[in-house]
C-alpha cells in the first residue's frame, strides 16, 4: 500500500487515471445531490433546513480526517525521518482547509434557522475555528519558510500540536454543555439518523472523499516534481 505513494510511482501516475476517478466522483456527487435535495424526506422538526447536513457533516468529517492524516504523517516525519513523507501532508493541507471553511460556513447557515443565531462561541464551534487557524499556520509555514528542512520540521511540530485539538473537537459536545448537538453517528451505537437521511449523507461523504483523493494526488505529484527540480538546482 505505502509503496504506491513512493515518489517514482506517483510521477508515473497517468492523468488518465485521475480522469477516471473524476468521472466516478461526478457521478457519485450527482446521485448524492439528487438524493439529498429531492428524494430524502424533510426532518420532522427542522423541515427542509436539515438538507444542509448533507454538506456540513461530510465536510467536517473530511476536515478532521485530513488533519489527523497530516498529524500522523508529521509524527512519522519527526520520528523516522522518511524523505518525501511530509510532502504527502503538505499536499493534503489545502483540501482540509477548504473543507474546514465549508463546514464552518454551512454550519453558520444552518445555525440561523435552527438555533436562532449565526454564531455562538460554544466549545465545538470554537475548537473548529482553532482547527482552521492550525490549517492556516501549517500552510503558511510551508509558504514562508524557504529552507526545506526548516519548513519540514516547523510545520511537522505545528501539525503534532494541532493533533491534540482533534479529540477536543470530537468530544466537546459530550464533555461540556454546548449549543451544538451531540454526534448522531457513533461507532458504539446505532445512528440516530433515519436511514432515508443516512444514505444520502454517506453518498455525499464518498463523493467528497473521492474529490479529496483527486486533489491530493494532483498536488502530491506537483510537490514531488518541485522537490526534485529544487534538488537539481541546489536551491535548498
Amino acid at each position: 500500500m505505502f509503496k504506491n505513494f513512493l515518489p517514482n510511482k506517483i510521477l508515473a501516475l497517468n492523468s488518465k487515471f485521475i480522469f477516471k476517478i473524476a468521472k466516478i466522483m461526478i457521478l457519485v456527487l450527482f446521485v448524492g445531490v439528487i438524493y439529498s435535495l429531492f428524494i430524502s424526506p424533510p426532518d420532522y422538526i427542522q423541515g427542509d433546513s436539515v438538507r444542509i447536513m448533507y454538506v456540513h457533516v461530510p465536510s467536517s468529517f473530511i476536515a478532521l480526517g485530513c488533519f489527523a492524516f497530516i498529524g500522523v504523517v508529521s509524527i512519522c516525519n519527526l520520528v523516522f525521518k522518511i524523505k518525501f513523507i511530509s510532502l504527502m501532508a503538505k499536499s493534503l493541507a489545502p483540501v482540509g482547509l477548504i473543507f474546514t471553511i465549508t463546514s464552518i460556513v454551512t454550519g453558520s447557515l444552518w445555525g440561523k434557522p435552527t438555533w436562532g443565531i449565526w454564531w455562538a462561541w460554544d466549545a465545538r464551534l470554537t475548537s473548529m475555528v482553532i482547527l482552521l487557524f492550525f490549517y492556516f499556520i501549517y500552510i503558511l509555514t510551508w509558504k514562508f519558510v524557504i529552507n526545506f528542512k526548516k519548513a519540514n520540521t516547523i510545520s511537522s511540530i505545528i501539525a503534532v500540536i494541532g493533533l491534540f485539538n482533534l479529540p477536543i473537537i470530537k468530544y466537546s459536545v459530550e464533555w461540556w454543555n454546548t449549543l451544538h448537538q451531540p454526534s448522531s453517528i457513533t461507532l458504539t451505537s446505532a445512528p440516530a439518523i433515519h436511514y432515508t437521511m443516512l444514505v444520502p449523507l454517506l453518498i455525499m461523504l464518498i463523493g467528497f472523499t473521492i474529490y479529496s483523493v483527486i486533489i491530493f494526488l494532483m498536488r502530491y505529484k506537483i510537490e514531488i516534481m518541485k522537490f526534485k527540480l529544487n534538488k537539481k538546482n541546489k536551491i535548498n
Binding site: P41, Q46, W115, I168, L179, A192, H194
Partner: protein, 141 residues
C-alpha cells in the same frame, strides 16, 4: 528493528505526548467554568453566589405545559428533570422552540428560581427522521 536513534525518538515522543495530554487536561479542567456554553438549572441551584449583574445562559428542556404567552411576552419553565427555573422573555422565539425541546436562554438571573432572558436560542438533539416516522413512533406508544 529500529536503530538506537529512532528508538530514543519514539520514547521521547511518547513521554511528550503523555505530558502534553496531562497539561491539556488540567488546563481544560480548570477552565471548565468558561468552556461551558450554558448552565443547567442544577448548576444555578448549586451556585453559592448569585450573579445578578452579569449576562449568563441557562439551558435545559422546556417543561411540558409550562408555556404562557401574553402578547409579545412569554413565560416558561426550563427543567433538567431535577431542578427548574422560571424564564420570562419579551420578543420572538425561534421556530424550533416548543414544549419538551431543548432551549437556551441568555439574560440575567433575578434569583435562583427566576431568570429574565433577552435572547432565546433553540437547541436541537441528534435525532433526525422524516415526519411519517415520527408519527408512527408516537402512534405506537
Amino acid at each position: 528493528m529500529f536503530t538506537q536513534k529512532v528508538k530514543l525518538r519514539i520514547i521521547y515522543s511518547i513521554i511528550l505526548a503523555i505530558l502534553a495530554s496531562a497539561v491539556l487536561y488540567i488546563t481544560l479542567k480548570s477552565l471548565e467554568e468558561n468552556v461551558v456554553y450554558f448552565y443547567s438549572p442544577t448548576d444555578i441551584y448549586n451556585k453559592t453566589s448569585i450573579l445578578s449583574n452579569t449576562t449568563i445562559r441557562v439551558g435545559g428542556l422546556v417543561k411540558e405545559k409550562s408555556i404562557n404567552k401574553k402578547g409579545t411576552s412569554i413565560n416558561f419553565v426550563i427543567t433538567d428533570l431535577k431542578n427548574e427555573i422560571i424564564i420570562s422573555y419579551k420578543g420572538l422565539v425561534p421556530n424550533l422552540f416548543s414544549e419538551g425541546k431543548g432551549v437556551i436562554a441568555e439574560g440575567k438571573l433575578k434569583d435562583k428560581k427566576y431568570f429574565v432572558a433577552d435572547k432565546i436560542l433553540a437547541k436541537h438533539d441528534e435525532n433526525y427522521m422524516p415526519p411519517e416516522v415520527k408519527k408512527a413512533l408516537e402512534d405506537s406508544k
